[in-house]
Amino acid sequence: MKIAVLSGKGGTGKTLVSVNLAAVAEKGGYFDCDVEEPNGHLFLKPSDIEEEEVTSLKPVVDMDKCDGCRVCVDACVYKALAYIPGELMIFDEICHACGLCTHLCPRQALTETKRVIGTIRRGRRGSLSVHTGTMHIGESTGVPIIKELLKKLDDDLSIIDSPPGSGCLVLETIAHADYCILVAEPTIFGAQNLALVHELTQVMNKPAGVLLNKVEDGINPSELYAKEKTLKILGSLPYDSYVALENSNAELLVERSEKYRTFFLELLKEVVDEATLAAQR
């Protein structure tokens, strides 16, 4: 089962849920796809880390062959090229590595070489494999890093910690998921963003359930939304300053508290059951 954990909004508890589920499962893999600001490794503290670079292609010019025709400069929709007489400037961070300029150059003055756009670190925490992707600052997209990261998905059990929002990074992250956990806060902001991310799972045809987090007394707009849309509510975590404290110190709840260990074991079972049911439909 490949389970993705999403929230439309930052700070709702995506990472909290992902790392604790992965830790309590003690098998399979945890994949941190929040490549702009990965935090899961702070909690899981993996060891035996192997690093790989993620590369993209960049055009390189041989100025002996370049005659300043500017076909490349004009054709590039991203404006990653500029021509000053005697020099063709190439801006790697703006370049999308589409290959068009290299293809069009009438003098074959352009060739493509690899360049590093991010890093993947794969390690272990007991029987759990931990995979972290980091995008280098200034790069135009984190999608290639997520793609590379998810090549090692474990079909038995994978917990995929997705980036916040509902943009192209999130789409890439949930593309291979069997089931999505939507984490939601009990505020109107939380409900609004829950709706956004729920819509995303519908567009991508992914079964989903809701985990209510930081629940207080009183009306919970996210719970109301879930009920209105007949979304399965997988569980509910009341606001607990103890949780907030442990989380702020990047400590795993399931290691420090029997109560929460039980909660996440039950949640894991619930999620796997729901995912199995959904797969059968």
């Binding site: 069009l104 192209c168 109107i188 606001y239 300053s241």
Partner: protein
């Protein structure tokens, strides 16, 4: 027009809640939600009388005309983004990055580029108040241009404007920083929050915008709050105060009530911070 921008680095630190309080206290007549990925400010500002929208365009995307397609498959071969599907050959819009490579190789002229609406820019007014925001279509990438457009709409509409910034460290944050007078960083006392805070401060410094810092939900982890205070002292960044975690704040937001009216520890803390922020702005 003086502009105050709220940033946080990480999401969920309470930027929008603080921004709402400051808007109410300052009675600012111009405000903007630059968090175009997940706009929230409109939920707490009540209703407006006048609304105008305009589309925001991304790069034009490729579209294959099945009637002209000869099924040679060249487009499929050259596309680096897996945006062309086979049987029949067609473009998957959310994967297309608009590079136009396919249009250059198609021997049948079957591929055209079509304008794509990636989002909507919105302007809302009531009386002398102006509120600018935008929404992104699902799956689109956030860019600095959209944030720049949102900011442009409130330019010179009032003497003082408050901008609710976007989380993260990317281009939308940089775009929100250009031309503002003061940044208020809303930090949270967590290890991940601190590392993200430092990255955003770096960006703001490069753009030479003055920064001041507050810690929200400070009592969640007093030790880390101290660490942030200490960091600010070391870096000569004005530390304007802390806001405790307050259930009243959540209840107020949810019932659409003004945080300031409802009162409570968070409300009081924000009021103190408001006075300090205005002093910083005047001193500039």
């Amino acid at each position: 027009m003086k502009q105050l921008l709220l940033l946080s680095g990480k999401g969920g630190t309470g930027k929008t809640t603080v921004a709402t309080g400051l808007i109410q206290l300052s009675q600012a007549k111009a405000y903007a939600d630059c968090d175009v990925d997940a706009p929230n400010l409109h939920l707490v500002l009540g209703t407006f009388d006048n609304h105008t929208t305009k589309p925001y365009y991304d790069l034009p995307k490729a579209v294959i005309d099945p009637n002209r397609c000869t099924e040679c498959g060249l487009c499929y071969q050259v596309c680096r983004f897996d945006a062309i599907a086979e049987n029949p050959y067609r473009v998957i819009p959310h994967l297309c990055e608009g590079c136009t490579f396919c249009t250059h190789v198609c021997p049948a002229g079957a591929i055209a580029l079509e304008e794509t609406v990636a989002g909507t820019i919105e302007l809302h007014t009531r009386g002398d108040e102006t509120f600018s925001t935008a929404t992104l279509k699902m799956g689109s990438g956030t860019t600095g241009l959209l944030v720049t457009e949102v900011k442009k709409q409130i330019k010179d509409k009032a003497e003082f404007a408050i901008l609710d910034g976007s989380p993260g460290i990317g281009c939308p944050v940089i775009a929100s920083l250009t031309g503002v007078d003061l940044v208020l960083m809303v930090a949270e006392p967590s290890l991940s929050g601190i590392s993200d805070l430092k990255r955003v401060i770096q960006n703001a410094r490069q753009l030479q915008v003055p920064i001041c810092v507050i810690v929200n939900k400070s009592d969640v982890n007093e030790e880390l709050t101290e660490r942030i205070r200490h960091y600010c002292a070391k870096e000569a960044l004005p530390f304007l105060g802390t806001i405790p975690y307050d259930r009243e704040a959540v209840a107020a937001i949810n019932s659409g009530q003004s945080l300031i009216e409802r009162g409570g520890p968070a409300s009081e803390a924000i009021q103190e911070i408001y006075h300090k922020v205005m002093k910083e702005l005047e001193a500039l």
